[in-house]
Symmetry: C2
Subunit: 505 residues, 2 copies
């Protein structure tokens, strides 16, 4: 085919992808409204609308016409008729489409149905702390996910087929190679911290109204663009991207704990900065999407923990919280105690409430268990026992009931096997990225004010955001930091920070 025709074919291909993404983003709009604004009686209608649109999107993405166009473009790529960027977009897209086309319609529908029902079963089981209620649902979901992994079939462990959706290019072995030594380090490190001087915890009471103002101002300070986004309240904080021009974040206001809303806001703002910066002219194809869930999480965790819980930021935050000269007064401890209070390490039962040090242990045990389930080495019925033993081994904590143990996460009831590693990888990427950024921007920490964030944002834009999904996660980290992903920088970071905070020798 002539180069000119290929150009036109390519434009049609990405226009079709863009149209499908536009339709899919109608569901993002509907979902955000559902989580944040919708009155309860709207629920049934809303799920009908969203199921219908999801179905149309699926039909369009698996259509023969799109596939044929893509196949012609793949041949053109082989013949060098497309630019490097175009070639990556075509290859990545076709890999994703192939995966979707490999899944039998029956399997997709059964997964939607089974996980939809399992969600309610899981809620009941968690409330009653009765794993046996949830077991039949979980067993069926595991069967279906194994079937999905086999249908996708990418060689190696069947778990890789699930993991690859969230972290392209990653395999269970690669994750294990990174997490396993990290866990060995963390188990020892947590015990070591136990011998140090633990900081005093801090809860600050403030009305939701004032918390909301602080959250908005903080998000703005970090770089959230309110002309292209909103901050609302919801039961569980999340970020939703309709488009780079419309990125929404939510937080949660607990009037007995100001810091909770603040750190949720900083976390989601980290996600939002990335979403804001994705190239909007590539909306609908991988170049306009995030590189992976792990890279996305690296952005939120970088701002939440590496920046947000740093000594420098703690000064800024204290000034910010008290100095607004407004209609409330806060009583904060001295500067050093405040900083240390932001960094309490305490082995606990719940992942989402855990600190920077123990968090990855929570993730690691989930990874080991779900990998075992998908590879057939672990039976679902044995989960409570395995879970409790691992929590004891990793964190030295006893699990009093399944509701705060194996039943605490929503992921498995939703069929999200292969998702957990992204949380841990995000933490590791974030430490590696910030270490490299500080190397290149040595005065990053000099001034405790908002200006330094401009430099950091520009650096992240250059190294991460602007690439969208054109680079694989491993490529992003390697190109940005000079080294492939590993736990080294994260370990260095934890040691440097917490040995000082816990006054260890």
């Amino acid at each position: 085919m002539a180069k000119q025709n290929i150009g036109s074919l390519y434009r049609k291909f990405v226009a079709q992808l863009r149209e499908i993404a536009l339709l899919a983003s109608a569901n993002n709009i509907a979902e955000y409204d559902m989580e944040v604004f919708m009155p309860p009686a709207g629920a049934d209608h809303r799920s009908d609308v969203m199921a219908l649109i999801a179905g149309i999107v699926h039909t369009k993405r698996t259509s023969a016409a799109l596939w044929r166009r893509g196949e012609k473009l793949l041949a053109a790529v082989e013949n060098g008729l497309l630019s490097e960027t175009e070639a990556i977009i075509v290859r990545r897209t076709m890999k994703d489409l192939e995966r979707e086309r490999k899944l039998p319609k029956r399997l997709v529908e059964e997964l939607v149905k089974t996980t939809g029902a399992a969600h309610h079963v899981w809620i009941e089981a968690r409330e009653k702390s009765d794993f046996s209620l949830f077991l039949p649902s979980l067993q069926r979901i595991v069967e279906l996910k194994i079937e999905e992994a086999e249908a996708v079939g990418c060689g190696g462990s069947p778990y890789d087929a699930l993991l690859g959706q969230y972290e392209p290019g990653m395999t269970a072995e690669m994750v294990e190679a990174v997490l396993s030594p990290l866990c060995d380090f963390l188990k020892v490190f947590v015990r070591r911290l136990g011998t140090g001087n633990a900081p005093k915890e801090l809860k600050i009471r403030l009305t939701a109204k004032h918390q909301a103002r602080i959250s908005k101002d903080l998000a703005k300070l970090i770089g959230f663009d309110f002309r292209a986004g909103r901050l609302d309240a919801s039961a569980h904080p999340f970020t939703s991207k309709m488009h780079p021009g419309d990125v929404r974040i939510t937080t949660r206001y607990d009037e007995s704990d100001l810091l909770s809303s603040i750190y949720s806001t900083i976390h989601e703002t980290g996600h939002a900065l990335y979403d804001h910066a994705l190239p909007s002219d590539q909306f609908g194809n991988c170049a306009g999407e995030a590189a992976s869930y792990g890279i996305h999480e690296s952005q939120s965790r970088l701002w939440e923990n590496l920046i947000g819980r740093s000594r420098e930021f703690s000064r800024l935050l204290a000034a910010f919280m008290t100095g607004s000269g407004e209609d409330y007064e806060l009583c904060l401890p001295d500067e050093d105690s405040f900083y240390r209070a932001l960094n309490v390490v305490k082995p606990s039962l719940i992942r989402t409430e855990s600190d920077e040090v123990t968090y990855n242990l929570h993730v690691a045990l989930r990874f080991e268990i779900e990998r075992g389930l998908i590879e057939g080495r672990i039976a679902a019925k044995d989960l409570p026992e395995i879970w409790n033993a691992k929590i004891r081994e990793y964190l030295g904590v006893e699990v009093p009931s399944d509701s705060v143990g194996v039943l605490q996460d929503v992921h498995w009831s939703a069929g999200l096997f292969g998702y957990f590693p992204s949380y841990a990888l995000g933490n590791l990427y974030s430490a590696q990225l910030l270490e490299a950024a500080v190397r290149e921007l040595p005065d990053l920490w000099l001034r405790a004010n908002g200006e330094q964030f401009t430099w950091l944002r520009l650096w992240l834009y250059d190294k991460v955001w602007r690439h969208g999904g054109l680079l694989m996660p491993v490529e992003i980290v390697t190109q940005a930091t000079g080294a492939p992903p590993s736990a080294d920088a994260f370990q260095r970071y934890l040691e440097r920070k917490f040995i000082e905070i816990y006054q260890l020798k």
Copy 2:
């Protein structure tokens, strides 16, 4: 075809209609978000999403498959194989689909494009008060609407084809027969009121926060179901129905004028009560939709004016506004002055700010002008002159500039020719309905508290809401009141009320 097969065919037909309506309601969700919540940078993406969905809806509604199914059902209707309700639904739907299928795709697209561009031109022209800027757009829109009317072609005036979209079964002649004598009455009546004792106007200052609380409480009192809806703020108050289980209303808070937000809220609540009550099991076909724009408007105006500006309600409202024992204090005039202040009649330039008496004169002149444009008796270029002369004749007011004259309404720039009569018809229907309701519920006015609203709501449910679009507007009014639509009840209402307020003999 056997009766059993017809049953199955019918179910498929309405299921298909429901699916299309679900998709269309995704646009309602997106539009509400756009008007109320969306950050400015989301605008381009949002209009792309909405245009795409509107296109898919149009394609599905004009598809040959749906049409063929409907044609078979029409034949079955002729053979008496469907129930009465089913027969109405099939006939109405096919009439609507026929209309849509008659419009050439090119015309539909050009109308969208032309009105989209005209909107911005109209805003600029209004700001500069320069009709000549808007004239070329208006001329083109009129040409396209004439083309649309001819394509639809329903005999009689081409205007009827446009009017019929909003007020099924109504013709320009029928509207004229009602409005023309009403105008004659109103012109005289307005002058007569000018000789009476005009009430003193009243503006009440209150913070937006407190206004919002009053609006929410009032909406609830009247019967708005917050489990199935929301009240938000927006630039222009409106009601949006995603589904009877999710009806949203908005109002506008002007801190110098509490009554403005209150009456907008009551108006939109009137719309919402109807939308809440439409049969949700008929979602997607005419039985689940409102009977017409005029009937819809009759519900909002009934609550806003006939109830909301009555002496009985004014007592309730005053108690409501002052008696909440909250953190603000209002200073209201005495009971009689307050009631009269809610009912100031004052010929003015702007339709949306005009009172109950003069409002229909504003509508009547628009109807005469737009009918003349579509019937080719009036040229767009002569509009300012015609407008100003009619305002002088009807209201005795001089138009100082086009921005508060012919350029004040958004409708024509949006191609909404044929819509204005619904506003006037709504007012007439509302008076006729309430007169009948009071006849049947003689103690409706006895107690000035919220309880009476239950009885009125039940009456409206029985006579109007539950029928959805199964009855034509004329049928609804005739069955509910024992007489076809006319201006008689409305005139009686105005005379009784305003002769007393203006202390005329």
